[in-house]
């Protein structure tokens, strides 16, 4: 009974994670301090030069701005719409299973496929969207609309997912609380503000954590829908980093951009996790 050899059970997972995630993270930091051009087999240590270049790189600042705009707008819209849908559907009704399955469809479809679907719906001349709205907007070709068009697609894809997580959060709230509040004469809005919102806070924080991190590293949706264009107006950090890495093959500077994404995501997750653990202590 004494010797269980528990470590042996955990070891394969830890080994794989170390080799495929931790080692690359260290390696990417190492690469970011080099000038590395893969095709010419050039690799030279240059210290912080890549980071100094980054600060002067307008395209980087543009990508950073786009990434924050994409993340902020899409996550807020998803949270708002998801909350509406969750409150609507948080009751027993016939066909609940089917409704839930339909809501899982956008989440389950590969992002690449949904980008292709929306690309066709956004088509200026023959797209469904312009036809239904009775307008003629060049959604993906105009610098103003393109990033917003990508946001709409992301909102479509992930709002149902947000709603499902929030419904789970709502179901944990005991029904007696609502009955008691109603007996005391509280109105719907009061009930929502004083009971639903505070008790749903942990679920909302989890949703925000998942969605913010996901939206911040957005790649597939933008890469397929617009490729970063027109004129880099939709280029996010991941897309820019990918282009530098694999289209111009500058592994040093591309890695520097990757490190920045990693740091941003790291800071955001620490903030969220602190908020969450503070909630739990109360």
């Amino acid at each position: 009974m004494k010797r269980e050899g528990g470590n042996r059970f955990v070891l394969p997972a830890l080994a794989l994670l170390s080799v495929i995630t931790i080692y690359p993270i260290l390696y990417v930091i190492y690469l970011s301090a080099h000038r590395k051009l893969l095709i010419f087999n050039i690799s030279r240590f240059i210290g912080f030069e890549n980071y100094q270049f980054l600060l002067r790189d307008d395209r980087f600042w543009n990508a950073l701005k786009n990434t924050f705009y994409f993340t902020g707008v899409s996550v807020s819209l998803e949270l708002f719409l998801g909350l509406c849908i969750a409150i609507l559907l948080n009751r027993p009704f016939r066909g609940k299973g089917l409704a839930r399955a339909v809501m899982l469809i956008p989440w389950a479809i590969p992002t690449v496929v949904s980008a292709r679907m929306w690309e066709w719906m956004y088509n200026t001349d023959f797209g469904l969207l312009n036809y239904l709205l009775g307008i003629k907007i060049n959604w993906l070709g105009s610098p103003f609309w393109a990033l917003n068009a990508a946001i709409f697609m992301d909102v479509w894809k992930t709002t149902p997912f947000v709603a499902i997580l929030l419904i789970a959060g709502l179901q944990v709230i005991p029904g007696e609380l609502y009955q008691a509040a109603r007996v005391d004469g509280a109105g719907s809005w009061q009930i929502f503000r004083k009971i639903t919102m505070p008790l749903l806070r942990p679920a909302i924080l989890i949703v925000l954590l998942f969605r913010t991190l996901d939206a911040f590293r957005v790649f597939d949706a933008i890469y397929v829908l617009t490729g970063g264009g027109p004129a880099n107006t939709t280029e996010t950090l991941s897309v820019y980093a990918y282009k530098v890495l694999f289209q111009t093959l500058q592994f040093g500077y591309g890695s520097t951009l990757s490190v920045v994404v990693f740091l941003c995501v790291g800071i955001m997750s620490i903030v969220y996790i602190n908020l969450l653990s503070r909630d739990r202590r109360i």
């Binding site: 955990v10 997972a13 990417v28």
Partner: protein, 289 residues
């Protein structure tokens, strides 16, 4: 039961109001469903249109549905091979992720290990790593190992990135199995490993199914690594093929629509059959934190 109870509370004059409210609810529900499924249905209609009708206004329906796009993606392109690549990569990943993940989860849930919380925290933090941050070194490693454009490059990467999810769901499930069940099997002379696969495994089928579905969907849909590590049809997966769909002069919308429908069918089936399991898997993190 609950519905009947509420029903009795209404006076006859209020019953009409309740009916109205119910009708309103179902209209909103219908809107939500159209919002979710609409784009896919539209893609399905597009896939059935002959090329001449694709550019017709109004675009809503087609007078002469055709299978031509479905035939052309299999005739013109190695689409069958690409589906095979995706199927092999996604199922192998699922298998490996469950094997490695369940061993780790069992250790964390039932065995005495030092720094348990630290290990679990480390594993979960990996799920927050942005893929773009690891793609360049992984590319160099895979190139050095001569694994470029092979199934293995993707299987190894996906298995690793899906481990946090597997470990998390399975650890939570194993923890709920009473310790006595495990301990009594140990008293009966089982080694920890025997206890794991004779006692714990058979009890955990539902959790394994949930995990398997989520990992499968993740690997079936992944794009960034697939785009980077594959270069020919030898290993190219569906998302890459759909993203790089060949078009000589203009984008072949009908073919793309047909391809989208084909690759989405397995996912829609999974979602319809296992919606309850998937929801449980997705929310196990949100509710328990």
């Amino acid at each position: 039961m609950c519905g009947d109870y509420e029903y009795c509370l209404y006076k006859p004059s209020e019953q009409g109001q309740a009916n109205m409210r119910r009708a309103g609810f179902y209209i909103l529900l219908l809107l939500v469903c159209i919002y979710c499924a609409g784009p896919l249905i539209w893609q399905f209609i597009t896939s059935l249109k002959p090329d001449s009708e694709l550019t017709k206004i109004p675009p809503l329906f087609t007078g002469s549905p055709t299978m031509i796009h479905y035939l052309s993606i299999f005739k013109g392109h190695p689409f069958l091979r690409i589906i095979l690549n995706s199927a092999v990569v996604a199922s192998s990943t699922t298998l490996f992720s469950l094997m490695i993940g369940s061993l780790c989860a069992f250790g964390l849930a039932k065995l005495r290990i030092r720094y348990k919380a630290l290990i679990l925290g480390f594993i979960l933090s990996v799920s927050m790593f942005p893929p773009i941050a690891t793609v360049s070194p992984l590319y160099i490693i895979i190139r050095a190992l001569d694994l470029r454009d092979t199934w293995w490059a993707l299987i190894i990467t996906y298995t690793t990135f899906s481990l946090p999810l597997s470990v998390w769901i399975l650890t939570n499930f194993f923890k709920e199995i009473p310790d006595e069940i495990y301990l009594s099997s140990r008293v009966d002379g089982c080694t920890p490993f025997q206890a794991f696969y004779r006692i714990i495994l058979p009890l955990s089928a539902p959790a394994f199914l949930t995990t398997a579905i989520l990992v499968f969907i993740f690997s079936w849909n992944e794009f960034l690594f697939a785009l980077t590590f594959t270069s020919t049809t030898a290993s190219r997966t569906i998302p890459v093929a759909v993203a790089l769909f060949p078009g000589l002069h203009e984008i072949p919308w009908g073919d793309i629509a047909a391809a989208s429908i084909i690759v989405t069918i397995p996912l829609v089936v999974l979602v319809l059959v296992f919606q309850r399991r998937i929801t449980e898997g997705l929310t196990s993190g949100a509710v328990k934190g």
